[in-house]
């Protein structure tokens, strides 16, 4: 895959893995409204993934479509950031991940509406309206749990503490990102950091929470170096195609 196809693949992998993770909550959330909310966010992510992965397959030109990329690659071929593959943990940990990712995704998609790749621009313009709902949902819950009981607060702090080390990777610009940006297809992700920091800090302040202590960033997802959690997620998501290769219905 060239840089532009890889760029689309990364966007698709982020959405796909987060969508799969969130769908694990289906039928298990604390209350039915939350169950519906998380399922809706998961649906939006999987919808984005379908578009981005189909595009990546088209740009690659080897006859792979979104389904082939989703179900017939193994762990080291996935290019999602480490944040989205992190386990759901309790509800607070899931919401912490959503807070960090959705604000990033909303800023990213807003910027990508100006992409010179018309398909990426169209997907971003459509998805950004949905992503703003995700960011609001996550922010509301962080505030509610953080500024809640001692129990909810301690869980929110623990959830943020778990996810925080994976935030830096969202804004890393490597060779693929630089090439995509030079081509006018990608954007400067590092430049989104200041706006993201301001948004997160505002939510944390309202939630009466502090930023987790800084720690060394954990990265590598973009190059296929994943945590052990992704393999387990894929074994579930890809079960059917592994057991019955090429099955359709």
């Amino acid at each position: 895959m060239d840089a532009i196809a890889t760029y689309a693949l990364r966007l698709g992998d982020d959405s796909l893995i987060l969508g799969q993770r969130l769908s694990e909550w289906c039928g298990h959330a604390p209350v039915i409204e939350v169950d519906l909310s998380l399922a809706n966010v998961a649906l939006d992510q999987i919808g984005q993934a379908t578009h981005f992965l189909n595009l990546a397959g088209e740009l690659e030109g080897k006859g792979r479509d979104g389904d082939a990329l989703a179900f017939r690659r193994d762990v080291m071929d996935f290019t999602n950031c480490l944040l989205v593959e992190q386990p759901n943990g309790d509800f607070a940990q899931t919401i912490a991940r959503q807070l960090l990712f959705s604000h990033y995704q909303e800023l990213l998609f807003t910027a990508l509406t100006g992409s010179k790749n018309a398909t990426i621009a169209a997907i971003a313009a459509k998805a950004v309206k949905e992503t703003s709902y995700h960011a609001t949902l996550a922010s509301d819950w962080v505030i509610r749990l953080g500024d809640g009981t001692n129990e909810s607060k301690s869980r929110m702090i623990a959830g943020l503490d778990w996810m925080w080390r994976f935030a830096d990777e969202l804004f890393v610009m490597d060779d693929i990102d630089a090439a995509a940006m030079t081509a006018g297809v990608g954007v400067d992700k590092a430049a989104l950091r200041a706006a993201w920091d301001a948004r997160i800090d505002a939510v944390l302040a309202e939630a009466t929470l502090s930023r987790p202590a800084p720690r060394r960033a954990t990265t590598g997802g973009r190059n296929g170096r994943h945590s052990e959690h992704l393999g387990h997620l894929l074994s579930d998501m890809q079960f059917l195609q592994r057991a019955y290769p090429g099955a359709t219905w």
Binding site: L36, S37, Q45, A122, A125, E130, S132
Partner: protein, 181 residues
């Protein structure tokens, strides 16, 4: 500003070709196709047609262009299949269906009839206009049963991606609200 769907003028399959191009056996007029689609219901909200929902973006003699409501809406495929079946049943198998993402669908494209159909079905229609969209659904919904504005949002995510769950404090009925999008 609200942008109404624009219907392209009928395109002759022969335009641009030689005068003796072979025409399809059944070449529908744009109005024929439109009339057929006006009877195709949305699979999730059967009270509203795909035309009134604003997801049909273009109709010509040889193609229909549709756009999904939400990126992950599971009804997208079912909608395309319903339209295909309706066209085929009327002998218009030659009319192709295409999907476009841009410009993104907006609830401003739901027709006035569609809004009334939603209300009659028990779903509060979305407020109209860019100003309403910027309010992010903060304004109180009007209860589709008793008409009261004394309502509260229970959950911004409802039974389908396009709806939020509300409750009327006047008549105590819960109801769906079509999200302004």
């Amino acid at each position: 500003m609200a942008q109404a769907p624009s219907w392209t003028a009928g395109v002759s399959p022969a335009s641009g070709g030689s005068a003796d191009s072979v025409l399809p056996a059944r070449t529908p007029a744009v109005q024929d196709v439109r009339a057929i689609l006006a009877n195709v219901p949305d699979p999730e909200i059967p009270a509203v047609s795909v035309i009134d929902l604003g997801i049909v973006r273009e109709i010509s003699a040889d193609r229909v262009v549709i756009t999904p409501t939400y990126t992950g809406c599971p009804a997208t495929l079912a909608i395309e299949q319903s339209i295909r079946a309706a066209l085929d049943a009327n002998g218009f198998a030659n009319v192709a269906i295409e999907t476009t993402l841009s410009p993104p669908w907006s609830t401003d494209w739901i027709s006035d009839k569609g809004r009334e159909d939603l209300r009659a079905y028990g779903i509060a229609p979305p407020p109209k206009g860019a100003a309403a969209a910027s309010l992010k659904n903060q304004t109180a919904a009007e209860c589709p049963r008793c008409g009261s504005s004394n309502t509260e949002e229970l959950s911004r995510f409802g039974s389908t991606p396009c709806k939020a769950l509300w409750r009327c404090k006047a008549c105590a009925e819960p109801f769906d609200r079509f999200k302004c999008h």
